[in-house]
């Protein structure tokens, strides 16, 4: 509970700063510190190279061609001069140490000193993204609650730093809840999937005492065939207990701005962690259907319905704690991204 809200604040503030940085990184160029030489001067044709240029024009030692005339095409086997050769008056002086190309012939660099030249493309820039996949108020026969699932990344096309936070917090009534944050390194391992590894901090506050856990987290996130967004993650707690969570969502386009999103999430564990309310086996499932309207791509309020259900020993633990084991809620929230 203690770190959840500062963590949330950081989640919102950090990307705005990163956004500005990413935008800055995309500027067309850095101010040049060295003065630009007037290149007109270097192009004066030296008297001694001019005859060479003319000589090149006349007898071009073109490499012999492997294919002679058995090609069916009307190839006239003349070694005709490329049209341009005669008019190269501004041939720069050859460099004393020419670069060697793979074809073992010298290359004429355009200008000798290429240091300080900007990149011709901006393909290594970093970008950032943060989305409130779920940010909603839940109304049910139990206490009203706030549910969130916010994640984001910072980085390039292959390597990214991911942050995720998820939780459910009672806002009326006893005020219990569970919150977590994850910090992961992600790498694109296939065109549609990122591999992620990092840490997860989870916290439960409830009628009883507060509990915290730290886990190692490892998983994948991406889009599977048929456009299901999948996010399965494996956790290993500080006590060596293994658990997992998987989330699947699907976007069905009803109109250009109206999208229906079914969502399925389940938690399971190998070993039980009683004080954390975790039983072994399938813990709980959350099945929801949300309808969002994209006012802009970045801002989409939604309404929906969500059903959470506990199973097995988790169900017993929940009942003992006085929590609901099966709950249907109406939800309303906003999906925003930055």
């Amino acid at each position: 509970m203690r770190f959840a809200f500062p963590l949330l604040a950081v989640m919102f503030v950090l990307p705005t700063g990163l956004q500005a940085q990413a935008t800055g990184a995309q500027d067309a160029g850095e101010p040049m510190s060295m003065p630009m030489p007037s290149l007109g001067e270097t192009l004066q044709v030296e008297p001694d190279t001019a005859p060479n240029a003319a000589a090149h024009a006349k007898s071009m030692p073109l490499p012999s061609q492997a294919e002679p005339d058995d090609a069916p095409a009307p190839t006239i086997p003349t070694m005709s001069m490329p049209e341009r050769a005669p008019s190269q008056p501004a041939e720069p002086q050859p460099v004393t140490e020419p670069a060697m190309t793979g074809l073992n012939s010298t290359t004429l660099p355009n200008v000798q000193d290429r240091s300080g030249w900007p990149e011709p493309t901006a393909d290594s820039a970093n970008y950032s993204f943060l989305v409130t996949e779920l940010l909603e108020y839940r109304e049910s026969r139990a206490a009203g609650a706030v549910r969130w699932d916010i994640y984001g990344w910072y980085g390039g096309d292959v390597n990214r730093l991911w942050v995720k936070t998820e939780g459910l917090q009672d806002v009326s009534g006893p005020g219990g809840g569970e919150q977590e944050g994850q910090l992961l390194y992600g790498r694109l391992i296939s065109p549609f999937f990122d591999f992620q590894a990092g840490v997860r901090f989870a916290h439960r506050s409830g009628p009883g005492s507060n509990q915290s856990r730290t886990y190692a987290a490892i998983g994948v996130q991406g889009v599977a065939p048929y456009r299901y967004s999948l996010e399965p993650t494996l956790f290993i707690s500080q006590d060596g207990k293994i658990s997992m969570r998987a989330t699947a969502t699907y976007d069905q386009q009803l109109s250009q701005r109206l999208i229906l999103q079914p969502r399925f999430e389940f938690d399971a564990a190998v070993q039980k962690d009683r004080s954390f309310g975790v039983g072994s086996g399938l813990n709980k499932t959350e099945l929801g259907l949300r309808l969002r309207y994209e006012v802009k791509r970045e801002f989409a309020p939604y309404v929906g319905v969500s059903w959470t259900q506990s199973y097995g020993s988790t169900k017993r633990l929940a009942r003992a704690d006085g929590e609901d084991i099966s709950l249907v809620s109406i939800v309303a929230g906003v999906r925003m991204w930055f």
Binding site: Q19, Q26, D27, A28, G29, P31, M32, P35, M36, S38, L39, G40, P61, P63, Q65, E67, A71, P72, A73, P74, T75, I76, P77, T78, P82, E83, P92, T101, G102, L103, S105, T107, L108, N110, V111, W117, P118, E119, P120, T121, A122, D123, Y127, F129, D157, L188, I189, S190, P191, F192, V223, A224, P225, Y226, R227, Q253, L254, S255, Q256, R297
Partner: protein, 644 residues
């Protein structure tokens, strides 16, 4: 002596010209050739010996009025587009460019043959023009035709740094015309280029507001049955591809301009009835393909990419960013609408040809957005039997949900692509074997990705050669690439999606024939195959799965050699590939008359080949001319060795 370009007297024009484009004129942000007038800047007088025709250009921030709303643009000499630079062939072009921005700027002369350090690409040709500096471009003009120039720094091209560049021939022009107009089509967004890129990085389909939704599903099901419709929908979602993906940046954010004027401002070209008018179409849209037609007026295409071609009568042509087409029209005594509808049909630019200022013609009805086909995904196997018994489909223009054949054996799913290896090789070998059977009598045409088969000259391609299918090798190009064209083919005889080819003639690459035969008629001695790739969800674009930053080593050409570049488009979008410094001869069956182009548009799942004579020593850029694709990595440097 320095001869400045001709300037039309503003007062005379304002008095004579109509009310059109007035707001742009008053904002002093429209170049002279955008004003409604009898003549644009005419060819300058012939220069005396020792004279040099020079231009002074300034790149600066400027305010651009778009339908009454001010946008932050960057401009050459205060106008978007910049002024018309007009020369004669054989002159030496001297252009002094001063950078008044706070960032590095540059101007690249698109399609012009010149020394490598005059090419204007920061990082390849030179270090760029620093803020406050003046760079003098100086190069002899060895060619004639319609070209253009634009910034090669960041998003400046998006913001308005582009201008037409026309070189009048020294010989009498084989094309006769009574007046000519520059028609430069471009796109404008009030969003900054960095914003657009960031949006696409976060949500790749951000600008696509023409996705298929519930209404389309119901309509298609009514037409074709639920089972066929669902099967077709599922085949696309299985590939995680969107068949409505035609343009990354659409009319949702773009306003489309002709000579810097919006459709409402209505650029007008005047003519006298009975005249032959030459229209120099230049596609300067950073991310936009235009489909250009003049309802009621036939166009005779006489020049492509500045090179004269044998005249072709068409009703419509598709022009890719970077390309130019010159057409001759003979209008009658009425107004015509010059309609440039975007390829994805999300917007249009419009102008008018009229005998008098102030006349307009009706704007034609907007056409529905096209849809990608299985041929675009590289699934068109031609006459091959694919086991399911369904005939494979060729291109289906205007398809509205007819069933696609079941996807072939090789799955396109991401995780399977990781383990392509043996399984893929097996399937590919299987396809290759089937192709060999299906096309008996042909020499072995299969080529694996990245392979360099010795393919002799393919000048006069027989019909069986045209139908050749090239199965993809097992290399799926890594994580930087999210789809492959399982089977790539020659699509030069196809105009593209979204045309009514039954009722109108649309220009196709196959029909382009150079007027003057090419001088270097050697068969290419070697081939270099480049796959056009990209990861759409990541909005990362590449060649062979590698962005420029991952593949900085230049592609080496030996000076004087004759080689072939093979472009295989593994993505489902068209890409206009532009090579600086040298011509690419499009191998379209024209033999000695195959056309020269500086920009070739490669269709989805197309295998397009060009022959190049490496006659320009130095380092040259080669990249997709969709600006954001280039910025995101679809860029390479070609290095031609120096003469020995």
């Amino acid at each position: 002596m320095i001869v400045p370009y001709e300037v039309v007297d503003r007062r005379r024009v304002l008095a004579a010209g109509g009310l059109l484009g007035l707001s742009a004129v008053l904002a002093r942000a429209a170049p002279t050739y955008a004003w409604t007038q009898e003549n644009q800047a005419l060819p300058g007088p012939k220069l005396a010996a020792g004279e040099v025709r020079s231009y002074d250009l300034e790149i600066d921030d400027c305010r651009l009025m778009i339908d009454g709303r001010a946008g932050k643009a960057m401009a050459i000499n205060g106008t978007v587009p910049g002024p018309l630079l007009r020369f004669r062939e054989g002159e030496e072009a001297v252009i002094r460019v001063t950078n008044r921005l706070k960032e590095i700027a540059s101007i690249h002369w698109h399609g012009i043959l010149l020394p490598p350090d005059m090419d204007g690409v920061p990082g390849v040709s030179f270090g760029g023009i620093a803020p406050g500096e003046t760079f003098t471009y100086r190069f002899p003009l060895l060619q004639s035709g319609t070209y253009w120039c634009h910034s090669h720094s960041g998003g400046q091209e998006l913001l308005g740094v582009y201008a037409p560049f026309v070189i009048d021939p020294v010989e009498p022009d084989p094309v006769t015309f009574d007046r000519d107009y520059v028609v430069l089509m471009s796109d404008w967004s009030f969003e900054a280029p960095e914003e657009i890129i960031a949006n696409l990085k976060k949500q790749a389909g951000y600008y696509n507001y023409q996705k298929r939704a519930l209404a389309d599903l119901v309509r298609d099901a009514r037409a074709n049955g639920w089972s066929a419709t669902l099967k077709e929908r599922l085949s696309w979602s299985k590939m995680r591809m969107d068949p409505t993906d035609f343009a990354d940046v659409t009319g949702y954010t773009y306003t489309y301009l002709i000579n810097g004027l919006t459709s409402d401002a209505n650029w007008t070209g005047l003519f006298r009835p009975g005249e032959r008018v030459r229209l120099r179409f230049i596609a300067a849209g950073a991310m936009t393909y235009f489909d250009v037609r003049i309802p009621g007026l036939k166009m005779t295409v006489v020049q492509a990419d500045g090179q004269n071609i044998q005249p072709l009568d068409v009703d419509e042509f598709r022009i890719a960013p970077g390309e130019t087409f010159d057409v001759i029209v003979e209008p009658e005594n009425r107004a015509y609408t010059l309609m440039a509808e975007t390829m994805d049909r999300s917007g249009f630019a419009r102008g008018t040809l009229a005998p008098r200022a102030g006349m307009t013609a009706p704007i034609p009805q907007r056409r529905p957005r096209p849809i990608r086909t299985m041929a675009d995904m590289g699934m068109d196997m031609g006459s091959m039997d694919m086991g399911a018994g369904e005939a494979a489909m060729g291109d289906m223009p205007g398809m509205s949900g007819t069933a696609a054949p079941s996807p072939p054996v090789m799955d396109m799913s991401g995780h399977q692509m990781q383990n392509m290896g043996a399984a893929a090789e097996e399937v590919c070998a299987d396809i290759a074997a089937k192709l060999k059977e299906a096309q008996s009598g042909m020499t072995d045409m299969t080529s694996t990705g990245g392979g360099m088969g010795a393919m002799g000259a393919m000048a006069d391609m027989s019909s069986s050669a045209k139908d050749a299918r090239f199965p993809h090798g097992s290399d799926t190009h890594g994580v930087g690439n999210s789809s492959i064209a399982m089977v790539a083919k020659n699509r030069l005889n196809e105009p593209g999606s979204g045309f009514d080819t039954e009722n109108s003639r649309v220009l196709v690459y196959e029909d382009l024939r150079s007027v003057v035969p090419q001088t270097d008629l050697r068969a290419p001695a070697r081939e270099i195959e480049l796959h056009i790739t990209g990861n759409m969800d990541r909005y990362s674009w590449s060649f062979d799965g590698k962005k420029y930053s991952e593949a900085r080593a230049p592609i080496a050409f030996r000076y004087g050699e004759r080689l072939r570049m093979v472009f295989v488009n593994d993505t489902m979008m068209e890409h206009p590939i532009h090579l600086h410094g040298m011509w690419m001869e499009l191998e379209n069956g024209g033999g000695a008359n195959q056309p020269r182009k500086h920009t070739v548009s490669v269709k989805p799942a197309e295998r397009l080949t060009v022959a190049i004579t490496a006659d320009a020593p130095g380092q040259w850029a080669m990249h997709c001319h969709l600006l954001l694709h280039m910025e995101m990595g679809m860029f390479r440097v070609v290095e031609v060795s120096s003469p020995v």
